[in-house]
Symmetry: C2
Subunit: 352 residues, 2 copies
Amino acid sequence: MAGGIGSRFWPISRNARPKQFLDILGTGKSFIRHTFERFAPIVPAENFLVVTNRVYRDLVLEQIPEIKECQVLCEPVGRNTAPCIAYAAFRLMSVNPEADMIVTPSDHLILNEAEFVHAIDEAMEFVRSHNVLMTIGIRPTRPDTGYGYIQVDGEQDNNTGAIHRVKTFTEKPNIELARAFVESGEFVWNAGIFLWKAAGILEAMRTMLPEMYQQFAAISDCYGTSRESECIERVYSECRSISIDFGVMEKAENVYVRCSDFGWSDIGTWGSLYSYSKKDDHGNVVRGEGMFYDTHDSIVMMPEGKLAVIEGLNDYIVVDSGNVLMICPKKNEQNIKKFIDDAKFHKGERYT
Amino acid sequence: MAGGIGSRFWPISRNARPKQFLDILGTGKSFIRHTFERFAPIVPAENFLVVTNRVYRDLVLEQIPEIKECQVLCEPVGRNTAPCIAYAAFRLMSVNPEADMIVTPSDHLILNEAEFVHAIDEAMEFVRSHNVLMTIGIRPTRPDTGYGYIQVDGEQDNNTGAIHRVKTFTEKPNIELARAFVESGEFVWNAGIFLWKAAGILEAMRTMLPEMYQQFAAISDCYGTSRESECIERVYSECRSISIDFGVMEKAENVYVRCSDFGWSDIGTWGSLYSYSKKDDHGNVVRGEGMFYDTHDSIVMMPEGKLAVIEGLNDYIVVDSGNVLMICPKKNEQNIKKFIDDAKFHKGERYT
């Protein structure tokens, strides 16, 4: 899934090049490239499907030259994860009705790739031997209020190890609730990674999102043909926008979670990027050249070849990117969406 | 005089393009262009001489296409104002031993040009009828500690009007002294503008800076010839660095000042630029596009086409220029010289 615009990393992420195509962590590779390489040992290149907005098609092919054009499924418009997954599942079914399916965001950080592959293998093995919808849960290390949580069934089952039946999915909690979740030991973070048979998720959608299922099923003849794009255009113009979590996972009975510890973050905000980045002696995270005076605990992102000279900023975000300079206290990073709206309204599209 | 590097406006002013060649006030014209146009009604274009560092010769000719190459006097190295003035005076003498001479900085702001021309006319008239060294004084509007002051002789003379004999020149005072100066009514700001006969200032230098006088006099045959550049190179390599104020004006007996009110500032710092600029409702001075949240009394300079989005800065300087972004509290602007030194030392010449 590579359709988002990652507006929380504005002004580095823009409509024209959103987060999944950027190297925000400074690793030398974009998030989507890391995601491809993470799965490459267990999934042949010809089996990848990337669902994205059609305006990002060339960016996907540029980042993953190993795949063919027909493996990039283009959405005319974003409709959240349920239509995205329905589209990919129907396309898979048209090729192989027995297909296994792994669904993953393309803009997350995973530190321990070996442990990740182990978790995926184990979860996939469980999917193959049971008729279940699997998700990947991350054992929480702090009461983060930026993630959804999954409550696992407390009963340990020696046959399933780290795999548990799911009791509930929850939305992002407030801090008190998040603390209670973490203390209880019953909750894991929802990493947004799913494993199932393509037929299995479609069967669940047929029951729980029947209208959407019918819309995508009605164009069954089109998948993999020259008419696919035109049919998908029509379906997307009609179908509702809903997440797979809310539309299916929270309601289905046969949902399991593989609890894991592979070092995961959705790197969803400047603050989480700050947390996961190496700091200098004054707690500053700096990309590019900088000279700092009386400046602490700030994150500064400069373009290549440009020098930041900063005095007297504590706990700030400073981002110089393209035609925008943003300076904002770290604690107010939620205002970035407002900045983007204001920029669009007052200054026009060229800054968003 | 156009040889300075204006480092206090770094990172906008750079070695490659110092303040006098910039439009820091956003008027549409550089300081040196304004200076030329201010004098153009009273001085024919062919009578201008611009003394500058040789690396700025082309910038001068670009800004003042009305003058010829031979009117740009190139210094191989900066040696403060006394050698600069000696060079220009000897060159003038080689053309016309009776020449009047007006000396002016090229990077100051003057608001009332009509009143300025009136003051210059009156001062020049006085020079022509008396054997004096004239300077222009500005009646102070505040106890500024960034300027030198001139104490005028209190005795009013109906024959000379706003023109007074000078009692003393003073260096930049501390704030208590500056307050006493302003309250006394006897002091004016030293604008660094001088009027005299070329022969008159050289006569004064012969007495008060005899070594320097001899150095420039020794190459009398060279002025205006193809050997001038090579001779000047040798003289500058040997002569001392000293201001005309300290070397001559503070010691000479026949020094007068024309007290004036034409709205003057040397715009020597970001703070003085802030003072002289139009502010928005929150006291911010903004060049370029900006969106501000909880931000007051700051000065923000952006390049064309770039948007500043700033939250939570009060009393700051933010300058985005070329390959440098500087953020600094207004009250610490004196640190800019340190920033430049550090940038040079740690990051190399490319940022200075």
